[in-house]
């Protein structure tokens, strides 16, 4: 088998699950069972029913997840970027120690945090709230963001800061008006990374928001809608398709940036 044939065969194998998902999202249970790979009996009805599923309102899921994605990204950039600026620019020992302190956070697995964070959030009265969830998800992004931003700021010439200072700009203004606009590539990488990790997160929203709060993201909503009815394929396929469609479309258009962003994130350990 030549290299090209082998690669095309692999590509087909990678795409078959996506094909099965898409095709069967438009078929009734009988057609799915009789001919899972075929194109017979296509209709919009199953998709319509998934859109009005009483167990999982997809649009509410999209809206809540999007709210989380935006809130976490804004908060993460707003907190991590200025902190990274101070750390990268100051020669003082205490900021070097602070960098190491943040760096230590990239080695702590999320699994260890879930249980004690419940304790912390309960103590603060934030358990089951949007604020509590957003604050925790933001915290998870801080160590790697600060690491990435500080590394990037180190490549921005410090003469720019000095010029701004000579012109009378204070530290805050120097950062937000001069340095921050130059950080666009690093910020874009982090935003992509955070968007995917918040959108796809399952454990944290499931446990922090809980089933009682009535708040669900796309992922926890899919779990609620699909896990009970895993053999009713007229529920499974359309729901899964609706859950991944926005991300896949985003991916197709931004694939170069997304692949490099997610790969940078994969190496954070």
């Amino acid at each position: 088998m030549t290299r090209k044939t082998f690669l095309w065969a692999t590509a087909a194998f990678m795409l078959i699950p996506l094909y099965v998902l898409t095709v069967n999202a438009f078929k009734g249970q009988q057609d799915i069972l009789a001919n899972p790979f075929g194109l017979s009996g296509l209709s919009l009805e199953p998709l319509g029913r998934a859109l009005t599923n009483p167990n999982f309102n997809v649009f509410k899921g999209y809206a809540i997840t999007l709210l989380f994605v935006v809130a976490v990204n804004v908060l993460s950039v707003g907190l991590a970027a200025p902190a990274a600026y101070v750390i990268a620019r100051s020669p003082k020992r205490r900021f070097r120690v602070l960098m190491l302190f943040f760096l230590a956070g990239t080695f702590i697995p999320g699994q260890v945090l879930v249980i004690p964070v419940v304790y912390v959030l309960k103590t603060l009265g934030l358990m089951g709230t949007i604020r509590g969830f957003v604050l925790f998800e933001t915290t998870l992004t801080l160590p790697f963001s600060i690491f990435l931003y500080a590394g990037y700021i180190a490549t921005v010439p410090a003469v720019l800061d000095q010029a701004a200072a000579v012109d009378g700009a204070g530290r805050l203004r120097t950062f937000w008006q001069i340095v921050f606009p130059l950080m666009r590539p690093a910020v874009a990488t982090m935003v992509i990374l955070n968007t995917f990790s918040v959108w796809n997160d399952f454990v944290n929203p499931q446990i922090i928001l809980g089933p009682g709060s009535g708040l669900y993201t796309v992922t926890t909503g899919v779990y609620a809608a699909v896990s009970q009815y895993s053999t009713d394929y007229t529920v499974v396929f359309p729901t899964l398709l609706l859950a991944i469609a926005p991300l896949l479309i985003f991916f197709v258009f931004m694939q170069r940036h997304i692949i490099s962003g997610l790969t940078a994130g994969a190496t954070k350990g």
């Binding site: 290299r3 082998f6 690669l7 692999t10 590509a11 990678m14 699950p17 099965v20 069967n24 069972l33 899972p36 907190l79 200025p82 902190a83 600026y85 101070v86 020669p91 900021f95 602070l98 956070g105 080695f107 702590i108 697995p109 699994q111 260890v112 945090l113 249980i115 004690p116 304790y119 604050l135 933001t138 915290t139 801080l142 160590p143 410090a158 003469v159 000095q162 204070g170 530290r171 805050l172 950062f175 995917f196 796809n200 997160d201 399952f202 454990v203 992922t219 899919v222 699909v226 896990s227 895993s230 899964l240 991300l247 991916f251 694939q255 692949i259 997610l262 790969t263 994969a266 190496t267």
Partner: protein, 310 residues
């Protein structure tokens, strides 16, 4: 660059400079403090709490859990569920790491070089990583389940149902295969980055000296990829040791709990059985084992790399 504002002698306009400096000190605090406070409260304190809670019988509700000393650790040492889950987890991590890296490196070599077809292949190999593990699991269980797409086809053709997810051994293998399917695209991209660092002149020289493709790979490319291989192995290992979402959606830990991973057990004990103290002890153990394995692999790989260079 070396002359910072702090070092510049404030001779001419001393009062203004002083005011500026105090103002800048406040600004510095404003820039660093919020991130630091949040980080301490939501990440550092919880790590300490995890250690503390692992010594208590916390059920997730009571305000002050009772201190039970090392009891949770004693219990988990001869907990048959944990022993089985640990075995499954190590198997998944070992086989999965092998699969991710063999396919990752193999396909990186196949799609190396700039061409439209290669870009397409990279995207297709990578895309499952964009989907949540939960969705990937539900999708594959709809394809491989007893009444799933593949078994429908098999039975229509008169074959017997293949127990992809209904037999413990099959289910473990299926889970590893799905993890590899969903993840090796990342390794392809990481190895591609490593391949860009392999000196082209060396490869060329070896070719001119009459080395076969395999010899070039074995003696030039692979040694030059050393650090890349280490990073990839450690990353795969660390990621696979905490496999959770996929277990939930693909097998739900079944059949009969036979595909539960340690991470699955931790969350099950904690939030289904309300034994968060016990779950904390397990998560502390998982963290220590993960750190130890990552450390050992890095050390072994470094020794191997040094041996190559001598």
């Amino acid at each position: 660059m070396t002359l910072t504002r702090e070092q510049a002698p404030p001779v001419v306009r001393k009062p203004v400079g002083e005011r500026r400096r105090r103002h800048d000190g406040l600004a510095t605090t404003l820039m660093v403090a919020p991130a630091t406070v949040l980080y301490v409260v939501m990440l550092i304190v919880p790590v300490g709490l995890a250690l503390y809670l692992s010594l208590t019988d916390w059920d997730g509700f009571s305000a002050d859990p009772a201190f039970v000393g090392a009891a949770n650790y004693v219990t988990l040492l001869d907990d048959p569920d944990l022993r089985r889950a640990a075995l499954v987890t190590l198997l998944v991590a070992a086989a999965g790491t092998a699969g991710l890296n063999l396919l990752g490196l193999g396909f990186a070599l196949l799609v190396n070089g700039a061409s439209r077809a290669n870009t397409f292949f990279r995207i297709v190999l990578f895309y499952p990583h964009v989907l949540s593990a939960l969705v990937v699991g539900f999708l594959w269980s709809a394809i491989l389940g007893t009444s799933g797409a593949v078994n429908n086809l098999v039975t229509t053709w008169g074959g017997a149902v293949i127990p992809f997810l209904s037999d413990p051994a099959w289910a473990t293998v299926t889970m590893i295969a799905v993890l590899v399917w969903a993840g090796f695209g990342v390794n392809v991209v990481l190895y591609l980055a490593g391949l860009q660092a392999v000196p082209h002149s060396l490869v060329e020289a070896a070719r001119i000296d009459g080395a076969t493709r395999w010899q070039v790979f074995r003696n030039v490319t692979l040694p030059a990829l050393g650090p890349s291989v280490t990073v990839n192995i450690v990353l795969s290992l660390v990621t696979l040791l905490k496999t959770y979402d996929l277990v939930v959606s693909l097998t739900a830990g079944g059949p009969a709990g036979q595909t539960q991973t340690v991470a699955y057990l931790i969350l099950w004990n904690s939030f289904h059985d309300a034994r968060l103290g016990f779950g904390s002890a397990q998560s502390v153990l998982l963290m220590l084992v993960t750190a130890a394995l990552a450390f050992v692999v890095t050390k072994l790989r470094r020794r191997g790399e040094l041996a190559v260079h001598q």
